[in-house]
């Protein structure tokens, strides 16, 4: 058999630079609302999103789940669009709509034919300040949210464990509190809680409009001025300052037993820096560290050692997002094969981390990671909603349009030395939580 694969180590991605950037325009309305337009002229459809710079980490103590609960209530009606008909009107127009909440933001979106964009703006601007709520709607929706918590968290031992680990990782920062809220606090949320949060934070000077699709930037700006321009800003918006972490000096370890667990695993999170506006180099190094260490299955350092050479793991990996308003986390995990204990898996994980710190990264592996990231940029252009989310999520996390556009280059600029330095700063057990997820206690012993 002819060796097809020996001769190319690094594929050459002969892509014109221009092909890798989609056209993006940014404006600021007089009332403080940022407007971002992403052009995608392949089909006459549009993605319309409004992002509020308010998330679960901005809730008062004791009110966990409020940002997400309000997201649900935003569909309950205004004077102009009463009786929870918001989504019905979108559907009447052949569109889909939804919303999502994270620690750092709350976002609402519609995907629809481009000639309906004015209607979307009219309705979204209307509910930015005009929400009307009553107790009956609030109480029913609170039950829905509790069902959502039961579905997403309580029915899944992995999610329950994740909630406990986050609570341990953040000693002081509200990222330790789940976005969906602790059950006992969600059960106690009131109509007034939701209205107070809404009136304070839902305003054009705390929001970003992202429109992606078959549109011209000036046309979107004119529509935004017409529909969002008249909306009054809130006077209560200040720079977000959340309680920050003190020096972390004690490694944390936890074990969670649940009889629903059939496949035990060990997982560790380290506190990690997030992408900073104008300075994304360290976050870029951590992205590539995660990929070289634990991305791409068996081609990663963890995969090749633990799944192939040592043959002790069913799966392994490392993960880091980097996009958040405040410092975030970097995770590593090992799912051992039956017969291998979690302690053994952890020991082999630690040996792999030591190996990386001693030997640095394989330059060929780094080059392959970068090639795959370049390809991701091409594929990202095929996903209109994904592009809109990429810009929206970055902007509400304190980054700029320029930061988003610089990010692919920041990733390509990462060197082997950058990764080693990032790993040395990161892997400090004092700022980590190591968790074991196991089956029922009797069975485990």
């Amino acid at each position: 058999m002819k060796r097809l694969f020996g001769w190319i180590i690094f594929a050459v991605l002969a892509l014109p630079a221009a092909a890798q950037q989609v056209p993006v325009s940014s404006y600021m309305l007089d009332n403080g609302m940022q407007v971002v337009v992403i052009e995608d002229h392949r089909a006459p459809v549009v993605t319309h999103m409004v992002w509020y710079k308010i998330g679960a980490a901005d809730e008062e103590p004791g009110k966990s789940g409020l940002a997400h609960f309000l997201e649900h209530l935003m569909f309950k009606g205004t004077a102009a669009v009463p009786d929870a008909t918001f989504s019905a009107i979108i559907e009447e127009n052949g569109g889909d709509d939804n919303a999502f909440t994270t620690q750092d933001y709350t976002a609402y979106y519609q995907r629809i034919a481009v000639d309906r964009l004015p209607l979307m703006m009219e309705m979204e601007a209307d509910r930015m300040r005009g929400l009307i709520l009553d107790d009956a709607a609030m109480l029913t929706e609170r039950d829905v949210v509790l069902e959502e918590r039961a579905l997403r968290t309580e029915s899944d031992p992995g999610s329950l464990f994740s909630e406990q680990r986050s609570a341990a990782l953040y000693l002081n920062h509200p990222y330790g509190i789940p976005t969906i809220g602790w059950r006992h606090e969600v059960e106690a949320l009131t109509l007034q809680d939701a209205l107070d949060f809404y009136h304070l934070y839902y305003a054009p000077n705390n929001a970003i409009l992202v429109v992606a699709g078959d549109v011209q930037p000036e046309q979107v700006l004119a529509l935004a001025q017409q529909y969002y321009g008249p909306v009054a800003p809130s006077e209560g918006i200040t720079k977000r300052v959340r309680p920050q972490e003190p020096p972390q000096t004690a490694e944390r370890r936890m074990v969670y037993h649940d009889e629903r667990v059939a496949t035990p695993y060990m997982i560790r999170a380290y506190l990690a820096p997030n992408r900073q506006s104008g300075d994304q180099a360290q976050a870029a190094a951590l992205i590539l560290l995660a990929d070289v260490l634990g991305g791409g299955g068996i081609t990663s350092l963890l995969g090749s050692r633990l799944q192939l050479d040592e043959d002790i793991a069913l799966a392994s990996g490392a993960f880091y997002g980097g996009l958040s308003y405040d410092p975030t986390s970097f995770g590593v995990y090992v799912v051992p094969k039956p017969g291998v204990t979690l302690e053994q898996a952890e020991a082999r994980l630690d040996a792999t981390l030591d190996y990386l710190l001693q030997n640095g990264v394989d330059p060929e592996r780094l080059a392959r990671s970068k090639a795959a990231l370049l390809a991701d940029e091409i594929y990202a252009m095929d996903d209109q909603m994904g592009l809109a989310r990429r810009y929206g999520a970055a902007l509400v996390s304190g980054l700029t349009v320029e930061d988003v556009q610089d990010w692919p280059a920041a990733l390509q600029a990462v060197t082997e030395a950058d990764i080693t330095a990032a790993a040395q700063a990161l892997f400090d057990e004092r700022s980590s939580v190591t968790g074991y997820l196991m089956g029922a206690k009797e069975a485990a012993e």
Binding site: V81, E141, T299, L314, A371, L374
Partner: protein, 435 residues
């Protein structure tokens, strides 16, 4: 408020035109392999989907799970290339491949950069034509399948699904989980993989959709390079059957705070003349719209669930109509009563003209949203061929939806909805549910 209502009245007419509708090319290679192509030059990438009729239902009972494991092994080593080298090479080329097995089909999807297309195709060819199924890779992937099967055994949704299939299709391959069982997967060997491979990936089972920066002239020879060495045919047929569901509620006790329910009865096959009408009906009953009857009754009015939906599953050999919800253990009984009542109401009274008009506006407008990218459109192109819908279907589909009349849809409602046969499978600790 009036302003909004005027605007709405103006725009209930045309849905977005779809470029893909007018531009499907049927490409046949010199070697006789046919693909549907939509040429889209604006991004330097190509998406392909390869769909092979057959799937896990072709596994003999004692080899249950063979096709699934085989598909998981296609990227794990081929002639002259190890699993690691295959993955590394994919990264170098920026190519993404995925390999899947279902009840009725196996499928391969590929997204490739135009700049590296020939090399990406050469790599994919190795996986599709010359996989080696070596023992080391086999053992490793088999271990991963065991892990999935063990997790399924304590997952309420998976438990409900397995039981629902057993009740719906007794004695038929559809009753079996295509992933296999711990026993059948443990008994499989690399030789079984070779048998499953020879059966699954053949030219007579193959359907292809391609979208991206490639012309018909460029695509045709690539099809032969990639697939020309596949066998022409293989033996293996799954018999047609009937859905055996005949009503009732079965509870499988499981310690969880929230119950899971699956419900359903016989559905309509994709080639049934009433299928599209049933599709509109399902949208009104339990589709994704917030105005769907079940969403309004179970979620919006009463807060009994985060999500409830129903869907037509037109499997090749016996179509089923199915629904799904999660609800607290103390509220599941109430939710089931509501569903049963809605089923009976629909069978007896059908829908209103207003509901039908509303559904048409959503379905015709939202059709364009499905064509959201190259990969999505490649999937649609194979789906149209699987359903034998013709190359002009996309441009006529909204007319077909608009042509559904109230008499039509209510005739089909009486046919589709069978309250007496509506079977529930509930996994959890529901309170007050009597079988």
């Amino acid at each position: 408020m009036k302003r909004f209502l005027t605007l709405i009245a103006l725009i209930i007419t045309a849905a977005a035109p779809l470029r893909a509708a007018n531009e499907i090319q049927v490409v046949t290679s010199p070697g006789g392999i046919t693909a549907w192509l939509v040429e889209e030059q604006s991004i330097p990438m190509v998406s392909m989907q390869f769909y092979f009729k057959g799937g896990g239902s072709l596994d003999p009972a004692d080899k249950q799970g063979a096709t699934n494991l085989m598909m998981g092994l296609l990227e794990e080593g081929a002639t002259g290339i190890t699993a690691t080298e295959f993955a590394e090479r994919s990264d170098e080329l920026g190519a993404r491949f995925s390999f899947d097995a279902g009840r009725d089909s196996t499928s391969v999807t590929a997204s490739m950069l135009t700049a590296n297309l020939d090399q990406s195709i050469a790599l994919l060819r190795l996986a599709l034509i010359e996989p080696t199924f070596d023992q080391v890779a086999f053992d490793r992937v088999q271990g991963q399948v065991f892990s999935i099967l063990r997790s399924d055994a304590t997952d309420p949704s998976a438990i409900a699904s397995d039981r629902f299939q057993e009740l719906a299709y007794p004695g038929h391959p559809y009753a079996r989980n295509p992933d296999g069982t711990l026993e059948t997967v443990a008994a499989l060997t690399p030789d079984d993989m070779r048998v499953a491979f020879a059966r699954a990936l053949t030219k007579d089972r193959l359907i292809i959709g391609v979208v991206g920066a490639i012309s018909a002239q460029e695509l045709a020879p690539l099809l032969d390079d990639l697939l020309g060495d596949l066998p022409d045919t293989s033996v293996g047929e799954v018999p047609d059957t009937q859905v055996a569901l005949s009503g009732g509620v079965e509870v499988i006790p499981f310690d969880t705070p929230q119950s899971v329910a699956l419900f359903g009865h016989a559905g309509l096959s994709r080639d049934d003349p009433d299928y599209l009408t049933a599709y509109v009906l399902n949208h009104i009953m339990g589709g994704r719209a917030t105005t769907a009857r079940l969403t309004v009754e179970v979620r919006k009015k009463r807060g009994l669930t985060y999500g409830i939906s129903t869907f037509l599953l037109p499997f090749q050999h016996a179509a089923v109509y199915m629904g799904h919800l999660n609800s607290g253990n103390d509220t599941m009984a109430e939710a089931i009563e509501i569903i049963q009542a809605e089923w009976a109401k629909m069978a007896e009274h059908g829908v209103t003209q207003q509901e039908l008009d509303q559904a048409k506006r959503y379905l015709t407008g939202a059709y364009a949203l499905r064509f959201s990218g190259n990969a999505a459109i490649a999937g649609i192109l194979t789906g149209l061929q699987v359903a034998d819908l013709g190359v002009d279907y996309i441009s006529t589909r909204n007319d077909l939806v608009n042509a559904v009349t109230l008499d039509d849809i209510n005739r089909v409602a009486a046919r589709l909805y069978q309250p007496e046969n509506l079977q529930f499978v509930v996994v959890g600790q529901p309170v007050g549910l009597v079988e």
